[in-house]
């Protein structure tokens, strides 16, 4: 981005920190999961006790960045926006011309909102089922088996969604810059998140003359 281009602040340091910390922890979880699960990798790496411990600690820490991020007003505002689905969002999901500007898009498009919801939900379910697997004694055997079942299949889903997220990010260098530096060019914002760009670029209201 050239210095002269008008820009918008999309993410403060808090939101970026939450994103990257969660990404790191999730990455560690996925890599260790692969080493525990995928035969050829398990044969190569072994060290099951160590890999399992790393996996468990990363998993326990997974909600921490989000919880700490709650202290930031900007983060709380984003979470509220992510959590709210409007009729326009459903329209956007159904439409075949999502990026034409026909359907109004706010700070986050409906796909991003779904991703956030899935991520938050998975973190909680993986944590719960993971705890049952890590501390099996109080739980009845069918529940332990059920927890393993959910943990295994959800892990696959998380992998697929994560790969999808990375693919999307891979295709949009400006979006990536937004999460890296916090700032995006105004015209990108107008194209991708029109309603949000309009709100943020409106000239400040004139103070009433007293």
């Amino acid at each position: 981005m050239s210095a002269a281009e008008p820009r918008l602040l999309r993410f403060t340091r808090a939101q970026r920190w939450v994103h990257w910390s969660t990404a790191l922890l999730l990455g560690v979880c996925l890599v260790t999961a692969a080493c525990l699960y995928v035969g050829p990798l398990a044969v190569l790496v072994g060290r099951r006790a160590l890999v399992k411990d790393v996996h468990v600690y990363a998993g326990l820490l997974l909600p921490a960045p989000l919880l700490l991020g709650w202290l930031s007003a900007a983060m709380r505002a984003d979470l509220r926006t992510l959590n709210r689905f409007s009729p326009a969002d459903w329209d956007w999901l159904r439409s075949s011309d999502r990026r034409s500007g026909r359907v109004p898009v706010g700070k986050f498009n409906a796909g991003q909102k779904l991703n956030a919801a899935f991520t938050a939900g998975s973190i909680l379910v993986m944590l719960g089922t993971g705890l049952i697997m890590r501390f099996p004694s109080p739980w009845p055997l069918p529940w332990r088996t059920g927890a393993t079942f959910v943990h295994d299949w959800l892990a696959l889903a998380v992998l697929v969604v994560t790969l999808g997220h990375l693919t999307k990010a891979g295709k949009d260098p400006i979006a990536r810059a937004g999460m890296r530096t916090g700032v995006v060019p105004l015209d990108w914002a107008r194209r991708e998140h029109g309603t949000w760009a309009d709100e943020r670029s409106r000239p400040p209201a004139q103070p009433p003359r007293s």
């Binding site: 909680l124 004694s137 055997l141 529940w143 393993t148 299949w153």
Partner: protein, 220 residues
């Protein structure tokens, strides 16, 4: 998602069983091996407590049979293969829940090996050690003399592969997989059972399938 998660925890065991019976046979005839990526598609999982897979070339492999015996022996792979072979077709059940059905094993009956070295009267238990020294297990002498405990040389008609614990591993059919010591290096007759690797970490010493470790699996 929380609701689905809770439902999955409560109903998952039955769902997993249904999936196992569906995917298991598929996994066995899948040439790509991709079904192995699906959770518990009826295949073996690899759990190792060491870093790298222990290696011993067939020609270098030796099984030491020692301890409270009259005639301690060191057996080569050829010597083991020359002894009368027994075949067992049994399920392999892991204590974490996965099971591989109807695995054909063949090798030398442990009871035969024990008889051939002449156990002394004080011998009450049998200790096993992997040849890299990491893993230890043991059985009572009575358990070791059962007709479903094998010093296994082949699985599925082929020599036991290295990831499966080859060239020689123990197979204790009526007990959970952790008793079946891989990369078997030494069999030693002792006067008492010593808790093995996983037993020191909380698992039952007498690991009968379906009657230990708080589990109710059907016996192999």
């Amino acid at each position: 998602m929380l609701g689905l998660g809770a439902l999955g925890v409560v109903a998952g065991a039955r769902a997993q069983q249904a999936i196992d019976s569906l995917l298991g046979p598929l996994g066995n005839s899948d040439p790509t091996g991709l079904t192995g990526l699906l959770p518990a598609a009826g295949g073996f999982r690899y759990y190792s407590v060491t870093g790298t897979t222990p290696a011993r070339a067939d020609a270098d492999y030796r099984l030491a049979v020692t301890g409270l015996v009259a005639r301690p022996a060191v057996l080569t792979l050829a010597a083991l293969r020359a002894m009368p072979q027994t075949t067992l077709v049994r399920d392999f059940q892991c204590v974490t829940g996965w099971r591989v059905r109807r695995v054909p094993w063949s090798g030398v009956m442990l009871s035969q090996l024990i008889e051939s070295v002449g156990p002394r009267p004080q011998a009450r238990a049998v200790a096993f050690r992997s040849f890299d020294g990491t893993y230890a297990e043991s059985l009572t002498l009575e358990q070791a003399r059962r007709d479903d405990v094998l010093v296994a040389l082949t699985m599925y008609g082929e020599p036991v592969t290295r990831p499966h614990g080859g060239p020689v591993r123990l197979y204790v059919a009526p007990m959970y997989g952790y008793k079946s010591c891989k990369w078997l290096g030494e069999i030693s007759l002792t006067d008492r059972v010593a808790p093995g690797y996983w037993e020191r970490r909380g698992y039952d010493v007498d690991a009968w399938i379906g009657a230990s470790n708080g589990r109710d699996d059907e016996p192999a």
